[in-house]
Each structure stands twice: as C-alpha cells, then as structure tokens.
C-alpha cells in the first residue's frame, strides 16, 4: 500500500467506519450507502479531485447485497487512487446522489439508473442515457437476457415474425 494512502484510510476508518481490504495491489474501502455524500465531500477535501469511474456490479441472485456500487477516485495533486465500494440491498435500490460534489457523477448516475436500475436520490435529471427513453428493463443486470435473435430465412420468416418481440409491443 502507498505510504501516502495510509493516513487517509485511517482517517476515513475513524470518521466513517469504513473497512479497508487490499487485493492484487489495490485498496478498496467498503462503506454503508448512507455515508457516501459525507465521504465524497471529505474525499474532495483530501485532494481526490477526480471521480474517475462510477459503476456497479450485479451479484444476482444474491440479494443481501445485490449490487456493489463502485467509485474510483483519483488524486491529481498527490497521484493516488482509491476505490470505494457501496453494497446496496434489494431489487430496486436507491443511493444518495453525489452529482453536486463531483459533477461528472451526473451522467454516471444516469447510466447506473439506465443499466442497473439503481436510483440516485436527489439527482437533478434522472432520465435514461444510453437506452431509448421507452425501454423496459435494465440491460446490465444479470437477470436480463443477453438477447438473441433467431435468423429469419424465407421458409420460416412468417413463423418467427409472429413470436418475435419488437420494441414497445
């Protein structure tokens, strides 16, 4: 672990009750979801100016927790990197928004809603971002099928056409 990272992690452990794990040379902190706003504020004060990535992992059929929301922070001034993982429970979870602290979280939280169905509470503009506005379901969830289209030939065109799902049917 980086020597500069040690005091930062100790501070976060003391104030927010995070638990740090290190694997494959990477440090990640696990944090309860309700503390993320205060932690993000602190991260910015600690010199982590850049929210590099904000994404999630779906552990379906596990539900306690079903998702991990992952925040990758970078510090340009100190050249550090830190990962925070937020376990969230249930099928339709919500997390507090951090888009007022890191403004690029705006689109990244929209992507979370679009792809995983994780709602960011207090988000100013929570619409779908990559999928069409009238799309149903959240594609990156593990219980969402990958999608497969049967090839249609002249001899079976009509037969497949009848049972083929079309968008917004």
């Amino acid at each position: 672990m980086d020597k500069q990272l040690q005091p930062i992690i100790e501070e976060l452990e003391k104030d927010f009750g995070v638990s740090a794990t290190e694997s494959l040379g990477e440090v990640s902190l696990v944090l309860p979801a309700e503390k993320i706003v205060a932690t993000c504020q602190r991260m910015q004060d600690l010199g982590f100016e850049l929210l590099s990535a904000l994404t999630a992992v779906d552990y379906w059929p596990e539900e306690q927790p079903r998702f991990h929301v992952i925040y990758e922070f970078s510090s340009v001034s100190k050249n550090l990197r830190l990962e925070i993982r937020l376990p969230v429970r249930g099928i339709n979870p919500t997390i507090p928004t951090v888009s007022h602290i890191y403004r690029n979280a705006n689109w990244r939280e929209r992507e979370l809603w679009d792809m995983f169905g994780i709602k960011a509470e207090g988000h100013p503009d929570l619409r779908r971002i990559l999928m069409p506005a009238d799309w149903e379901g959240h594609p990156l969830r593990k219980d969402y099928p990958l999608g497969y289209e049967e090839p249609q030939f002249t001899f079976n065109f009509e037969e497949i056409n009848l049972r083929k799902p079309y968008a917004k049917d």
Binding site: G25, E26, S52, E72, R81, N104, L140
Partner: protein, 409 residues
C-alpha cells in the same frame, strides 16, 4: 401498433429556461446527422437569436452493449470487442484490456513486447490526433487540412496492417504479450514515418497556428478552468490545455514508459486554441517516444511462456503434447482468472481510459466496465456552450475530440 410517443418541452423543462416554455427562445436540434457533430451526437439547443442559452446533449445512438457482450465471452474473445469502442484508438483499448487481465492473473510481459506496445500505442495516438486535426480544422472550414491529415494517416495504418493484417481493428496486443512478432519491414516503415512526419507537423503549424481566420474562431472560445475540468472528470489534452500537468504515462508509468524521455505539453488558457496547440505538441512527443523505443528495441520473445494463460507458438504445437493440450484448452474453454477485481487505466489520446474488471473465478469476465474518456469530456459541453454562438459551438465540439463509439460503448 402502439401510439407514437411525442417528446415535448414538458419532459425537459428542468433543463431549459423559463423563456423556452413561453416560446420566447427557440429549441433547435443539432444532429444526430449534422456533419460537425463527429458521429451520431444529438444536441438540443435553446437559442436566443444565434446565441446558445442551453445545450442538452443526447447520446446513446451508438450504444452497442459492449460491456454486456463481453460478460458472455472468454477473455480472449472479449478482447476483439475492445477495438470497436474507441475506433480511433484500437491499440490503446487492447492495451488497457490486456493490462487489466495481466494484473488480474499476474502475467509478465517480455521487454520486447512492451517496447512494441509502446511504439504502436504512440503511433495510434498520432493517427488519432491526425484524424482529430483534420476534422476539427474542417469544422473551421480549413478543407485542405483534412486531406493532408488523411494522407499521413495512411502510412500509420499501413504499419498496423503490416503487423496484424488489419488496418484499424488490430487486436494485436494480447494478454501476455503480442499476437506475434513484428515483420522485418516494420523498422524501415516506422523509420520512414519518423523521417517524414516532423516536417509535416511544421507544415500544419504554418498553415494553422498563426492563421488569422483560425485565431478568430478559436481564441477565448470554450474556456474551461483546471478546477472545472477536474470536477467534470475531464482528462487528457483538454485537461492539459487548462494548465494541469496530468498524464498517466508520467504519473503512473506502465509498459515501460518510464524509460523514455518525453515532455507533457500544457497551456494555461483552456480555450479551443490551447487544445489545438497541446495536441500538436503531443504529436511531436509521440514521435520522440517512438524513436527512442525503436532505437533500443530489445530482442527476445514477444509472448509470455506461461501457457496456462497464453497460447503456445504454432511451431510447438506440432511437436509438443503439452502445447497442443494448452492450445486446445485455451481456445475452447479459456482460462480461469482468480476471483477479484482490478482497475487499470492508461492514457488514451482522449484521456484516462480505464478498465474495471471483476472475475468470479471463471473463464469469462463477471463484470467489465470501460471508463471511457469521451463520456466525461463530452459532459462538460453544456458548461462550455452557454452564451456562445452556434458557429462557436461547432469549434468547441471539434476541440473536445469525441469519438461516439467511446461515449456510447
């Protein structure tokens, strides 16, 4: 047949001003087929006369579900999709993916492979900047720039074809090394590029940098401060044009970048003109890196000999039973990566290109997320577009250097 859905101002009224609701200002669609949006980007503009009041980007036209598709494929097969994300930087995407996999399974890469990776990644950066320079100048009506840049780009694509058989979607960098060694003509071809291209950059500069038309269109347009850039997650040349010296090749050197001597160009202004200058200087620095890497290109293997993860060379398959078994296992079921997650970022021509890779112990990535730089860079456009003219907005879009495949994934 379901009813056709009308999208009205009502749905977007939290994003436009009061005057748009009353009809005082005009809402105008720019794109998705407008030539200067560099792909299928749609901007919904609220205009007061010709001044942009609000700009609402609408993305997703090029969404192909790459992340979902990769989860269903083994590591070797998933890599082929990474080229298609940022199609101006296929080698960089391969590099990011391969390095993430190498970190996950703990693979060593031979020195020769690392040097060739650097050469190809820098040539790709150069050709990406060439495409940007051509199209961004074309947006400012400098027609001839486009032709010059695409002429030069062919030489680099020829080198890619020579190595991998493909001009753009190379998949030449593989976890554990390279697909195979470079051909004998490689060095002469790259030397030829190194000889010719510096003069060409001087010519571009002569054509653009002190051109009064260019200065009128770019000076003081689309300003971003360093803090705004960081807050919006903007990285790459855009961040460096706002005065922040941040380059992952220097900050966290990978693939042997620490051996090469190069500078990170920065400019304090943060406008469209500064982005032009930073990228032009970056092209020079790329050539510098390529020259150094080529001069001390080590000899030796280009692939790791850990056959649990890397396919054995073709020559061994005919004579060695183990090699045949490894080959068969790797191309039918793939290799099992240990449980865990990694995040690895490299510097793409557009900024921080990160791969978040999580494995559940099986042969396929459980979750792969691409942190693509264009996605965050594009997000700053509503801020830059406020109060500019529509013609300036065209210059701003050009200066971001977006690749829509990179935005929509």
């Amino acid at each position: 047949m379901p009813d056709i859905q009308e999208v009205t101002v009502e749905d977007l009224k939290h994003l436009v001003s009061e005057r748009a609701i009353t009809g005082e200002t005009m809402l105008l669609n720019m794109g998705p087929q407008h030539p200067s949006t560099h792909g299928v980007l749609r901007l919904l503009l609220e205009l007061d006369g010709e001044t942009v009041v609000n700009c609402i980007p609408d993305i997703g036209f090029l969404h192909t579900g790459v992340e979902k598709n990769m989860e269903a494929k083994t590591y070797q097969k998933a890599e082929v999709m990474s080229d298609r994300l940022d199609y101006m930087n296929p080698v960089g995407n391969n590099l990011a993916f391969s390095m993430a996999v190498e970190k996950l399974v703990d693979l060593d890469v031979p020195a020769r492979a690392q040097a060739i990776r650097v050469i190809l990644a820098e040539l790709t950066r150069y050709q990406s900047h060439l495409v940007w320079l051509g199209t961004a100048a074309l947006d400012l009506a400098a027609m001839s720039m486009f032709l010059y840049c695409f002429r030069e780009r062919e030489y680099i694509l020829d080198v890619m074809e020579m190595c991998s058989g493909q001009r753009m979607m190379t998949t030449y960098i593989r976890p554990g090394g390279l697909w195979r060694d470079v051909p004998v003509e490689f060095e002469a071809a790259v030397r030829n590029i190194l000889k010719t291209f510096p003069k060409r950059i001087d010519q571009y500069e002569a054509l653009l940098v002190r051109n009064p038309l260019m200065l009128d269109r770019t000076l003081g347009i689309g300003k971003l401060t360093g803090e705004e850039c960081l807050n919006f997650g903007v990285t790459g040349p855009m961040l460096r044009a706002s005065g922040i010296k941040w380059d992952l090749r220097k900050a966290r050197p990978y693939s042997g970048y620490e051996q090469y001597d190069f500078d990170i160009p920065t400019r304090p202004e943060g406008d469209v003109y500064a982005r032009f200058l930073v990228r032009l200087e970056e092209m020079r620095q790329s050539l510098r890196i390529v020259r150094q890497a080529l001069d001390k290109l080590p000899l030796g293997p280009v692939r790791s000999n850990n056959y649990k993860f890397v396919p054995p060379p073709r020559s061994e398959i005919g004579t060695s039973m183990e090699a045949l078994i490894h080959h068969f296992k790797l191309w039918t079921e793939g290799f099992n990566a240990p449980k865990g997650s990694v995040y690895h970022a490299v510097e793409s021509p557009r900024g921080e290109l990160g791969v978040y890779l999580e494995s559940d112990g099986g042969p396929k990535p459980y979750r792969i997320h691409w942190r693509t730089p264009s996605f965050d860079n594009l997000q700053s456009i509503p801020l830059m577009a406020k109060g500019v003219l529509v013609a300036d907005l065209v210059a701003i879009i050009g200066s971001i250097d977006i690749v829509l495949g990179d935005v929509d994934r």
